[in-house]
Amino acid sequence: MKIIDKLAKIDRRIIYLILAVVVILPMIFPSVLRVRVMPPVEKLFHAVDNVPKEKALIIDFDYAPQTAPELEPMGFALLRHAFRKRTKVLILSLYVQMLGLAQNALTEVIEEFNSVAETNTDSIIYGRDYVFLGWVPPPIIPILGMGESITNVYQVDYYGNRTDTLPLMKEIKNYNNVGLLVSLSGSDPPEWWIAYAQNRFGLQVGAGVTAVSASKYFSYYQTGQFSGLMVGMKGAAEYEEMIEKELAIKSRRIASEALPPLTYAHLVIMVFIVIGNISFLMQRRKK
């Protein structure tokens, strides 16, 4: 009984310490967990894979530093997938703070591809293979406006070039030339793309969302409004598994590396929940 009483009054800092140890140890001594790909991620992979050659994939990078650990691996995996398939890619953000992280992901993935490219055709070239459209406020303006004309909404790209001078933008005029949009976000943007772009222009929308918002977004996947869905670190790890298995893309799997510490942390939290409930019931019985 004394142990239960002590556990009920345990200092929260000890719990933080235990959690930190449980997360750090598997990172220093890594192990491999098998990643089982679930249907929502598999569907998203195939939706990206099936974007027609003449159409573009839009990736909406709407994650900030506080959601980057979950969403950034998704962005990397999507870019690798699209560039390996030579799909035309348009990048944008609906919020200003996200532009730097989008640029970061682009720089790293393009460097990976261009470092092994032997010819101009193999390389990933700005304006030909991808365009970083940047940011235009407020979000509803670009979402609705791109249905009419992308270059009218984004008259200059992130780097200050006039978009109507870029070769890729001569082919991609509006949503009619877009095969799929994937929104990576920890808040509302995936819903906005459904409400405004899909509803009015019939745009296919996929999403990568944080685990916190998963229960909200699964309903859009179930109704078919999302062509596919990645949820949290686990969803990102599943997409990494898909691109490695299907396209033989060998690169660092940040999300997959995070799964062992994530699993052990969950187990520890479950143990704490059980202990907390037992001690609560025991104390109530004593009273």
Partner: protein, 213 residues
């Protein structure tokens, strides 16, 4: 172990540790880090808005290219600042009215279509919805559970009649569905928060200390 020599990595690492120090207790390091973060984020947003929105989309067309029509959005925008002058503060209602009017007009039909009609369609027992679960013949069972769950949960939120009899039974079942929803949301929240911790530790142990690759 190969310690980073990049000063930006060091700044990021030290600020991360300062934020983590709040887990022990509130302290000056945490407060400094918090204030720097808020200030830097706002400073970045304001300068970006100035250089990428106000100057190219308003000031250049109006003052450099002489496109006088741009004086209309300029004046409407300026009206936001009338709230600082009590005598003419009521003028603030004009830009707010335009803003709300635009958003409401654009949002109501889109939201009804996307978030009510489509979601209701998703609960109807049709072969397409059975197939949407990707679970073979089990899809029928999941669709029936979803259908029952939606009706029972809605009945819980029906407050015009006392929850007795049939309504009492369905609302109690609705409570179970709501609790399962909360449980799932909590589980996902734990996953999200631990993921953030892992992301920061990957940075501290990898990019900064070089202990992991």
């Amino acid at each position: 172990m190969s310690l980073s020599v990049d000063p930006w990595i060091w700044i990021g690492a030290l600020f991360s540790l300062a934020i983590f120090s709040f887990l022990y207790k509130d302290n000056p390091f945490y407060r400094v880090a918090e204030h720097v973060f808020v200030g830097a984020a706002n400073g970045y947003a304001v300068t970006f808005y100035w250089h990428n929105v106000l100057v190219p989309a308003l000031f250049n067309p109006l003052f450099r290219q002489g496109q006088l029509l741009f004086i209309i959005p300029f004046v409407i925008g300026i009206l936001y600042f009338t709230r600082f002058i009590p005598k003419i503060g009521w003028l603030l209602r004009i830009p707010i009215g335009i803003y709300i009017g635009y958003y409401v007009g654009a949002s109501i039909p889109a939201y009804i279509q996307a978030f009510i009609i489509k979601q209701v369609q998703g609960t109807i027992l049709t072969p397409q919805n059975f197939a949407s679960w990707s679970a073979g013949s089990w899809g029928i069972l999941w669709s029936v559970i979803l259908f029952a769950g939606v009706l029972c949960t809605l009945s819980y939120f029906y407050f015009s009649k006392e929850h007795k009899g049939v309504l009492g039974a369905t609302s109690r079942i609705g409570t179970i569905f709501i609790m399962i929803g909360f449980g799932a949301a909590f589980g996902y929240t734990v996953m999200a928060r631990v993921s953030l911790l892992i992301g920061r530790l990957q940075f501290l142990l990898g990019d900064w200390l070089g202990i992991i690759r």
